[in-house]
């Protein structure tokens, strides 16, 4: 166990080094200067001020020096401060403040997707080739084909503009406005994110379930006269969920860094919205901080998924 852990930690360190190095180099080499974003392009420009800001931010140092400085600080937990939103720390004021928003969105999207996908997958497998299967497959195909921002725009139009049931934008924090008001702002973006996930999950459950239903232990259960529902949910679903668990974990990690479009569309103050603004403003330390955080989260979630296998399947635990 210790060896496995050491291997994983070494892999994590290598991954983080690669991610931070590449993202630092790439963002630093982009044309554009954070000083322009700080000063504003039309503002009268005072070159002494430009120089002072560049010096304060360390932008006059060579690139390797800047990277090593950043890495040294990051190793002590200091991810620096935003170049643009001066005084805002990357860790406390950006990641800690915004992670709950993105994590909630991602979690809700995954939950909605799983709730929809499992029954659809089971129906598809149980009624393989019949109209129920074809209908759900068609629906799934549509959900896969439609980009989530189109789904989001449609949801806003229907539930906010036409029905006026839900707000069109922004975010009600649980701490300020309570869970009910929070859910009102979360449900539409979460659903927009969920539909694609649902489609992926349901296809996976369907194909795994089809394979499981042909296993000997299922045939044996049928021979014993157990009901189809009992066999599906008690015997077949669990072994058919291994791939689902993997993809749920991977996709949750991916969603932490992949909600950029939906957060921007709905004006939700999560990591994705902040990241896209940071890229546009060349706010390099914020880009670095969020990138590293998402990379760490991704690796940790995958590790957790591996461990979860042993809970789902006793055969893995024994081996």
């Amino acid at each position: 166990m210790g060896r496995v852990l050491a291997t994983r930690l070494a892999r994590l360190a290598a991954t983080l080094f690669a991610v931070t190095f590449l993202s630092f180099i790439m963002t630093s080499l982009l044309p554009g200067d954070p000083v322009n974003a700080i000063l504003g392009v039309d503002a009268p420009r005072d070159e002494a001020t430009v120089e002072r800001i560049r010096e304060e931010l360390g932008l006059n140092d060579p690139l390797p020096v800047r990277y090593v400085n950043w890495l040294g600080n990051a190793a002590t937990g200091d991810l620096g401060e935003s170049y643009i939103n001066r005084g805002q720390t990357v860790w406390g004021d950006t990641i800690v403040q915004r992670l709950p928003v993105t994590a909630q969105l991602a979690a809700m999207a995954i939950i909605i997707a799983v709730i929809l996908a499992v029954p659809l997958g089971i129906i598809g497998a149980y009624r393989q080739g019949r109209w129920q299967d074809q209908t759900t497959s068609a629906g799934v195909q549509v959900a896969l084909s439609v980009p989530n921002f189109i789904t989001g725009i449609f949801l806003i139009w229907l539930f906010a503009v036409k029905l006026r049931w839900l707000p069109a934008s922004n975010w009600n924090r649980i701490s300020d406005k309570g869970i009910f008001e929070n859910l009102k702002t979360a449900i539409l973006p979460a659903t927009a994110l969920a539909l694609t996930q649902m489609a992926i999950f349901s296809r996976l459950v369907r194909s795994d379930m089809i394979a499981t239903l042909q296993e000997n232990f299922v045939l044996s259960a049928k021979a014993k006269g157990l009901s189809d529902r009992y066999i599906l949910f008690r015997h077949a679903l669990r072994p058919s969920s291994l791939s689902l668990a993997t993809i749920v974990g991977i996709n949750f990690g991916a969603l932490l860094g992949g909600t950029v479009v939906i957060e921007t569309l709905f004006a939700i103050p999560g990591l994705g919205f902040r990241l896209i603004n940071a890229i546009n403003q060349r706010d390099i330390l914020v880009i670095q901080g969020i990138t590293v955080f998402v990379a760490v989260a991704y690796v940790l979630i995958n590790t957790a998924v591996d461990l979860f296998y042993t809970v789902l399947d006793p055969r893995i635990r024994k081996s």
């Binding site: 044309p31 200067d33 503002a43 005072d46 209908t135 503009v161 603004n277």
Partner: protein
């Protein structure tokens, strides 16, 4: 049979889902379809499309140009109420001296801070926190007297020393240092309890304009700012009509009524009327409009013609919204880098500009019937607008454009080093916005149709786009060719024009005999001693006619030398719930009608909610 029916139903369901999703895109989709249509409609031969008068000639009101008239608010005022306002972006910070501030930011800052002066409906400036502001004879010294009894939100009293202490901080502020320099403010002293004296290094008759903008004009508590400069960004302290309650970056900034505000409206009503305002950045134009239509917010701003078009359509379709439209001096188009061949030759610039079909470009931008074609830095309703310039501007004339460009192409001494007869190479660059790309495609097609131009269309994100034009790495020459840009505002012309006309590089400054003046903001790199001299002369007098003549002469030189080309003036609007009243008809403390909503900067103190 049953299986076939099932398949059919499944397919219908799938199509219905797709159709519903596409139909639900209330604005963005429309924007794209318009773009495509506009690009396709551009006559490939370059001939002007039928003149259906959708777009007016310069100087006339465009069909559908319904700038909301700026007139004093009427109706019974009511106190109370909370509103939410959708802004196009978040403010990077709320410190006037440090944080760059554009239209969304001004909406927030102006609730928290008062300014020393303010722009009025006729384009002049009136004192605001100053009660009086007077220059000496040669405009090198200005003396202002502050209102008495004004206090900051932290109960600190506003005195002349406050303004003098602000100056110390402003001298090193990222946003204010440059503004102080360009206004020639050398010193600010408290010469009485409420009397402030500005000493300038050069004459500047436009100082009141500088004092009406955030970096120098918004009044903050210098002691609090010095004690916690970073904290001031999220917990700003001003003397304004509202007090900050919370700031949740990228989500919501809430301001609540300042119970001790000093201001009253022209009828003597204590300001402000509203209990609170929640400012919400909603960057997506379609979502922002949907937020108003759904009641999520009660007001939104837009600087996009396509959104105004969509909002008009929603209103005309029965949605209960009101548009307050404003088309100011800000004008879009592009600039040629005149230090690079072939743009260094006026025949190229004039030829390409004659082949700029403003009508089709504006249509591609979604601005038909909304935006007027530009001929100068001033819109037809500006006091600085000149008919003479409008007539002199090289209008769309494809044949004339071809013949002008042909002269350069056939010139054996042409500046780009190509052989006579070869087409010129033009890099036309814009940020990757769908409507801008569509507009550039119109130009690309027209220029290409001449057979004399190879156009390379490039798109870079905003920061890269700016950086290429700024050219900090190559002595401010820049790496741009033909580059999308915007100019001008409703402020005094000197604020935008003077840095635009100063020498762009050290070499040019040296050659002009003014080595100490180099302006990185001269993006086209066009320098003309006469134009620069006219701009300098225009701030040494406050005689309007004299100043008008000087600015007219500069605009005439633009029309002759064409360092820049224009598409249309920037149409802007607030889209409001009908209950929002008083946004456009505010007044200065002395009762002079204010400027309305230039650049969709709302003055929220006089806004109230109708019953």
């Amino acid at each position: 049979m049953k299986r076939s029916l099932t398949k059919l139903l499944a397919m219908l369901f799938a199509f219905a889902m797709i159709a519903a999703a596409c139909g639900g895109d209330s604005s963005d989709d429309g924007e794209e379809s318009t773009d495509t249509t506009a690009a396709e409609e551009t006559d490939a031969s370059g001939d002007e499309a039928d003149d259906d008068d959708d777009v007016a000639e310069a100087g006339e009101e465009a069909e559908g140009d319904v700038d909301t008239e700026v007139e004093a608010s009427t109706g019974e005022r009511a106190y109370g109420g909370d509103i939410a306002v959708g802004l196009e972006a978040e403010a990077v910070g709320l410190r006037p001296w440090e944080d760059t501030c554009s239209s969304p930011c001004y909406n927030m800052m102006i609730t928290i801070y008062d300014k020393l002066t303010e722009l009025t409906a006729d384009g002049t400036y009136e004192p605001w926190l100053f009660e009086t502001l007077e220059p000496n004879d040669d405009f090198t010294e200005w003396v202002g007297t502050l209102r008495s009894g004004v206090t900051f939100h932290n109960d600190v009293e506003l005195t002349a020393q406050t303004v003098a202490d602000m100056f110390v901080i402003q001298q090193t502020g990222a946003a204010s240092a440059g503004a102080l320099g360009s206004a020639f403010i050398a010193d600010v002293q408290a010469t009485g309890d409420l009397e402030v004296t500005y000493t300038l290094s050069q004459a500047n008759s436009a100082l009141p304009a500088t004092l009406s903008r955030a970096p120098v004009g918004m009044v903050f508590d210098p002691a609090a700012a010095e004690a916690d400069p970073d904290g001031y960004s999220t917990a700003p302290i001003g003397t304004g009509p509202f007090v900050i309650e919370s700031r949740d970056l990228d989500n919501e900034t809430v301001v609540v009524r300042n119970e001790n505000y000093w201001g009253v409206d022209p009828e003597g009503n204590q300001l402000p009327f509203l209990d609170s305002i929640s400012f919400r950045p909603i960057p997506d134009e379609g979502t922002r409009l949907d937020a108003v239509l759904s009641g999520t917010v009660q007001s939104m701003q837009t600087l996009r013609q396509g959104t105004i078009r969509d909002a008009r359509a929603a209103r005309d379709g029965g949605d209960e919204i009101e548009l307050l439209e404003f088309q100011g001096n800000n004008v879009g188009g592009g600039q040629f880098n005149v230090l690079l061949a072939p743009y260094d030759d006026v025949r190229v610039r004039r030829g390409l500009t004659h082949m700029n079909s403003q009508e089709n470009v504006i249509d591609a931008l979604g601005g038909t019937g909304i935006s007027l074609p530009g001929t100068q830095w001033f819109s037809p309703d500006s006091p600085w607008y000149s008919e003479k310039v409008a007539e002199a501007w090289p209008q769309f004339d494809f044949e004339l454009g071809v013949s002008t460009l042909q002269e350069y192409v056939d010139d054996p001494e042409r500046s780009d080093g190509k052989a006579a007869g070869e087409p010129i190479d033009v890099e036309l660059s814009c940020p990757p916005d769908p409507t801008l790309i569509a507009a550039m495609q119109v130009l690309e097609q027209t220029w290409t149709a001449s057979g004399l131009v190879n156009v390379e269309l490039t798109n870079f994100d905003q920061q890269t786009h700016i950086n290429y034009a700024l050219g900090a790495e190559n002595g401010f020459v820049g790496e741009h060719g033909a580059h999308c840009w915007r100019w001008s505002s409703d402020d005094d012309p000197s604020l935008g024009l003077n840095p635009h006309l100063a020498p762009p590089t050290a070499e040019i400054a040296e050659a002009a005999g003014i080595p100490e003046i180099v302006s990185p903001l001269n993006f086209p790199n066009w320098f003309d001693g006469d134009a620069f001299g006219a701009a300098a002369a225009a701030i040494q007098t406050d005689d309007f006619d004299e100043r008008f003549a000087l600015y007219e002469s500069i605009m005439l030189q633009f029309a002759e030398e064409v360092p820049i080309w224009y598409s249309g003036h920037t149409a802007t609007a607030f889209v409001n719930d009908p209950s929002i009243q008083g946004l456009i008809g505010w007044s200065t403390p002395s009762g002079v009608l204010g400027a309305g909503i230039p650049a969709v900067e709302g003055r929220w103190a006089e806004v109230w909610l109708a019953e």
